[in-house]
């Protein structure tokens, strides 16, 4: 209970995205008889956990003022490794998968740090290249886990709550605490808010950024392993476009692309907003073609509203 209180501590007012989440939640509850049930809500949590986990790491990277476009490919590689190496050993497979994510994050971070090349360019390159590595490793094949224990884990529950949802919420809590309660979290805001000043303040800028790239790589890989456990398989195209939805969710949650501002609670709201919209529109049987237009329109509307609300105080930096 104390942790829950701590979760919302320091928030003087509710974030705009949460007002939106509550509004669509109420809307869909009235519009579809299937929406408001424990089963459906846990479904939403499981379905959003993939993008959600990546978004946790992406929030830190974006508060740093960087971006990572390679997360979708990282997820795909981790999923393929997690399934492909199971023949040797399950533990090894999962460790290798998570390790690959952290390694790719470290490579991205190291390149950004040492060469000074913009993170957008570095990770755009990695997005293409890592996808190439997946195809090279898998030979364009899907991998299938012979071990049903793996997919049983993906479908398992504790009480009525799916394990994947619990993992996602726990990680959210941990990352919230990291961002708000630790030195690393404070530095993350400082670096994004004013890189020059943060160097003067003794923050080791390059190293710091690299750690955040490793974190996002880890979460992308974790999301890949958990997704693979839901499928008992991995496909070479897995994770395509996920970087776009992850960035969308993080921005919806109020994190500024210019860096220095953002929160995990906001990101959670952004992720849930997309998840609830997709789920609710499915239940209402909105044709798939319209869903794309509606999601795009909502995103732009949120940006406009956000601009209007924050227009007078654009310079504030929260530490």
């Amino acid at each position: 209970m104390t942790s829950l209180k701590g979760f919302f501590r320091g928030k003087t007012s509710i974030q705009p995205i949460w007002i939106f989440v509550i509004a669509i939640f109420i809307f869909f509850s009235f519009m579809s008889e299937y929406f408001l049930s424990l089963g459906n809500i846990t479904n939403i949590l499981v379905q959003t956990s993939t993008i959600g986990l990546i978004a946790l790491g992406m929030t830190l990277v974006m508060i740093n003022g960087n971006i990572d476009l390679s997360v979708g490919a990282t997820l795909g590689l981790a999923a393929s490794l997690a399934v492909g190496l199971q023949e040797i050993s399950m533990t090894l497979a999962i460790l290798a998968a998570l390790g690959s994510g952290m390694l790719l994050g470290a490579i991205n971070g190291l390149i950004v740090w040492k060469t000074g090349v913009n993170a957008f360019i570095v990770t755009l390159g990695a997005m293409l290249g890592v996808r190439g590595l997946i195809f090279l490793y898998t030979g364009e094949e899907s991998f299938y886990s012979m071990n049903f224990a793996f997919s049983d884990f993906g479908a398992s529950t504790i009480g009525p709550i799916p394990v994947l949802a619990i993992i996602f919420l726990l990680c959210t809590l941990v990352m919230h605490l990291v961002l708000t309660r630790t030195g690393h979290g404070r530095n993350t805001f400082a670096v994004g808010g004013n890189p020059e000043a943060s160097i003067d303040a003794g923050i080791r800028l390059g190293r710091h950024m690299m750690i955040n790239f490793i974190i996002v790589g880890f979460f992308a890989a974790l999301a890949g392993v958990l997704l693979a456990s839901q499928m008992g398989a991995a496909t070479p195209n897995l994770g395509r476009d996920y970087e776009l939805w992850t960035i969308t969710a993080v921005v919806l949650g109020g994190t500024k692309l210019t860096g220095g501002f953002g929160s995990i609670t906001g990101t959670l709201g952004g992720v849930l907003a997309i998840g609830i919209l997709r789920n609710g529109m499915n239940l209402m049987q909105v044709p798939a073609f319209y869903v794309l237009v509606i999601l795009g329109a909502i995103l732009i509307s949120v940006l406009i509203i956000d601009k209007k609300l924050n227009a007078p105080s654009t310079k504030e930096v929260r530490i």
């Binding site: 740090w113 000074g116 755009l124 390159g125 293409l128 960035i247 921005v251 795009g296 406009i304 601009k307």
Partner: protein
Amino acid sequence: MASAEQPKPGLPTGKLNKAGLMSFLSAQGILVFFLLGMIVFSFFSEQFLSQSNIMTVVRQASIIGIIAVGVTVVIIGGNLDLSVGSMLSFSTVLVVDLHDKIGPTNAILLMFALTLMIGAVNGFLIGFLRLNSLIVTLAMLSAIQGLVLIYSGGQNVDIANQEGTWFAFFGRGYLGGIAVPILIFGLLAILVQIVMSRTGYGRRIFAVGGNPMAAVYSGIRKNWCVFSTYLISAFCVACAALVLGSRVMGSQNNVGQGYELLVLAGIILGGTSLLGGAGSIWKTVIGVLILGFIQNGLLLMGYPYYTQWIVTWVIIILAVWLDLANKRKRLLTTHS
């Protein structure tokens, strides 16, 4: 030359020669890569340097190239455009579908008008409402793809009589022995390069992208400048759609999917910085051609198609790195 500078820690030893070589490499970096790549590929595949192969590659690259010309202008103006892929699908489906319904001339005119309208929406949201271009064009990427599908009902569109229409000219025709797509790409590149380097308008775009505040203080109407870059981008997409629609004489709804990334990769390879205020159309042309030759060369050498992605990854980072290193006269950053 750069050898006058004392090499800093992190630079490899063998100072003078390597520093000199490095500075040469990075000044002419992308051209060197280009030539090096051509030599390697021609060594491994005898068809690579044949005239017909070169023509094929340039013609294939011209669709990405035409779009890249427009996006380069947006980037010089300090923004991004990720919506070009969906826009290409939209414009191609539109022009092909309308071809049989209202005739080629009307179809082309209407397609240009509607594509420019989408560009205007982008330009309005980013230029006047000052929204972040990355996110706006990302949202547009999704929304426009939805619009295409709603418009076509998800069906492929085709031109029934492929032989009997002059519409074939744009994608399949030849003028003076050169394929029309290449001519369109070349003309557009020359035209936009002249506009960007020789006119007041071009200078204003550079100013807006380089230092927005200073540009505003010097009386440049920044909103209109940014707005106009998205019109140019949309115009280029419409030209690309003309080539693509005519080349295939039909279209699927997702035909432009992923083009935004290839276009960006080409621009970055050419050496235009994403920060705005710098860059050139020439660089973009070379970047796009490199992308095309990598793809073709690896394919001719018998490597599977996805190896080009890995090679592109490495080359993009090396190219940009060398460019930066040359500017700061050192290989590595000083951050710790």
